[in-house]
Symmetry: C3
Subunit: 160 residues, 3 copies
């Protein structure tokens, strides 16, 4: 049996528009029978945080960071024209009108189609994040070595 | 006859500096006899909008978006040090002095060298953009599937 | 003898978080016996500027640019939550606590592990930067053609 073509995406950015682009490529590739992995790292981890997560971290700095960087698919800003949160609301309205799925819906769709979700343990370490903060859609918790093993076998490698 | 090596770039960003990087790589690759495709999506569509385009979209939100996100190669901000438009003007001056081409010149040069320009129909859909807004240099209007077919045959895949 | 798998990264961004991601992937790949090249271009050049460099450029605009865009691994902002420099300081503290290396340490580590550092001469040209501004860790000064020759032989190509 022939091996499937692979697509490996690093999602470093935590913005709604970039998350949509990453998930859209992932879902497209999965529907073309390609094997897709998304490695969520740094701000990108916000995309797969539970919207109702309570982060309990130690130390005042880490608490500040996690208060400001709450995350969850419903709290993602836009990379442009964020306008204190009006941008994402506006974009959400426009996409709904065009029957385009939300980040949350795309995360679930991607997961159902077999896209593999990997969360970067290095970032989790210094941000003081634990597994219970994340969606059950996360398949693997891993570091850069696991990413590279996948990436070097992939036809398409992207950093978003 | 041997097939040409392919380079496939997603241009998601609408900033002048990122557009310059993408176009510079594209022109370089084309001059090395590689086959290059740039997929313009999201804010990246601004790079290939006509500078004199009049966007007529329906609905107040879409009109606001297209008013604020006018686009065209002469209206691109910088990703850093934009300073309300002074940054791009300054960068333009410096590049002119160094005899480096503008975004507009690079778009035309790339097109003349056979770089394929693809515009993302999904973004056009929810932003309410029609084909008449874009430069005649656009070769294809397509979705993520067409991108992936090219990308998986490419030696170099980038997301900018 | 089999050829090594290659990883080629364009580091376009000059932010601390993106530099950390690029260097972390580079160090990871090098430790897995892959051949890694990082092409520093545009704002990314700031990562490999000497912290004590004195840029002497001609023309008032170029002087302004180089004053505002001083660079050096200790002066990199964050792509999010920069908060006038408080963000990078905070992030630095958190990473130190987690025993994660700084940008400077990662640059040296990467270099020691054989990661190739290439600086983009085109950007240097219009920004008015000369070789004495950069760290001795830079291996090559080159343009887009050299990048493409490496990239098309690489298993993993990223634009960060």
């Amino acid at each position: 049996m022939a091996e499937k073509d692979k697509v490996t995406i690093v999602l470093f950015s935590g913005e709604m528009d970039k998350a949509l682009a990453a998930l859209n490529i992932a879902v497209g590739a999965a529907s073309m029978d390609m094997e897709v992995t998304i490695f969520f790292t740094f701000w990108g981890l916000n995309v797969i945080k539970r919207n109702d997560a309570k982060v309990r971290s130690k130390g005042i700095l880490r608490q500040m960071l996690n208060f400001m960087n709450k995350g969850g698919s419903k709290r993602l800003p836009l990379s442009r024209m964020n306008m204190l949160g009006m941008g994402p609301w506006m974009m959400g309205k426009l996409m709904k009108e065009a029957k385009f799925p939300t980040v949350e819906e795309l995360v679930n769709l991607a997961h159902d189609m077999g896209v593999k979700f990997a969360a970067c343990t290095t970032t989790m370490g210094f941000m003081g994040l634990t597994k219970d903060v994340f969606l059950p859609t996360v398949d693997v918790y891993c570091g850069v070595a696991t990413y590279l093993v996948e990436a070097k076998e992939s036809k398409v490698t992207l950093f978003i």
